[in-house]
Symmetry: C2
DNA sequence: CCTTGACTAGACTAAACAGTCAACTATCTA
DNA sequence: TAGATAGTTGACTGTTTAGTCTAGTCAAGG
């Protein structure tokens, strides 16, 4: 009953875009409202603060975008090591596309925002940690499958997953800082080395 | 001639501390002045903006703290692979000490600030990139020496250095986001794997 | 068609913020 | 010791910002 609206969706999209392009702290509620074409009164009808909106926006990002993508790439139907290859390629491709489109490498919004607000915004931090943990499970599962298939050296899957995540995040952050997607190029080869792939035809070290 | 002062030094220290503890965007000029016990007028006597101060503070950090530390750890007198071991240990130790002291893992200020301001503050970004490049040279040189000593698999030293930097940054960022220094524990072993160390007694994978 | 409740508009307040300025003070040097 | 130089002070300005409030508008259900 009553009026319907997608202003809350527009607010989430606008917030995510702006925070990704600039940073959490640099974006004001007015900025978000302007981009979403929503008035302040409506903002506070849906959300009680910028942090509140950010949490909702990150949740939406996970459900609408990241989860489907990861489900596809890390499908248990795919060869374990090939899942990582595909993911590394996807990371490079998506960052290169952003650079092409906006002239800027934007990196990973989760990592940027998480690092920025971790000591400041408990609610946002908790959501970042939640999504981060979910992402780790894809890596961990693929590592376990790769060990079972004897494709990589035996190791602690949780630790290996964390290291892989670190490598990806770090390299992507580097790309943002340098505004150069090409530093992600070598991620594929380096990632394989870190994984401990046994294969002979290992990509460029 | 004229009056002397260390207010500019206090401002740089205060700025670096606050930005590291919180974030670039969350810190105001008033905050910095308060912590440094300096009045606003003096701030603008020495610096023309927060960005201007940040550049000076980062430069000071490099010269006073990072360079001496790196010169020690990455001394060409040390065994190439041992340089990395020592550095990985130092990274863990310093983050764990911060957690002990402040209750928070603060991560790497260069990476946090760089990622936050890369699309916003050209001057600060340029300084971050400059320091980052300097740091890479230590890694690159050690990789080259390790190859020459046949301690690690042959590889492109620049790319390997970039990957090592990515792994470190990524793992440290993870530690900040999770507020848990323990994720850095496994950096030593994972770093050796990524380096491609040939040794038999390789630390925990 | 009218009532109810979801949603909107936008003016308003108060606080936080960056940045300015002229008068003042301390210290160095000649 | 006097003058020039380097640094300090705090009150002041104008702007941006978060957040509030009230009077409304619009759509669905009865």
């Amino acid at each position: 009953m009553g009026r319907t609206s997608d202003a809350n969706l527009r607010l989430m999209d606008a917030a995510l875009e702006l925070i990704w392009e600039e940073s959490y702290g640099a974006v004001t509620i007015d900025d978000i409202c302007t981009r979403a074409d929503v008035r302040k009164g409506s903002f506070y009808y849906f959300y009680k603060s910028k942090a509140d909106l950010a949490v909702a926006a990150l949740d939406r990002m996970w459900n609408e975008s990241w989860k489907p993508t990861l489900d596809g790439i890390f499908s248990p139907a795919a060869d374990p090591v090939a899942r990582f290859s595909a993911y590394f390629a996807w990371v490079y491709k998506s960052q290169a596309a952003l650079k092409q489109k906006l002239g800027k490498v934007l990196g990973c919004p989760l990592c940027s925002v998480g690092s920025e607000v971790s000591t400041q915004e408990p609610g946002v931090s908790a959501k970042v940690r939640e999504i981060f943990s979910r992402k780790l499970r894809y890596y961990e599962s693929a590592v376990r499958d790769a060990i079972a298939a004897k494709q990589i050296e035996a190791c602690d899957p949780a630790k290996k997953a964390s290291a892989i995540a670190g490598l990806i995040e770090g390299v992507v952050a580097q790309a943002r800082i340098m505004n150069d997607p090409e530093v992600i190029q070598s991620l594929a080869g380096q990632g394989m080395t870190l994984l401990g792939v046994k294969s002979l035809a290992q990509a460029s070290a």
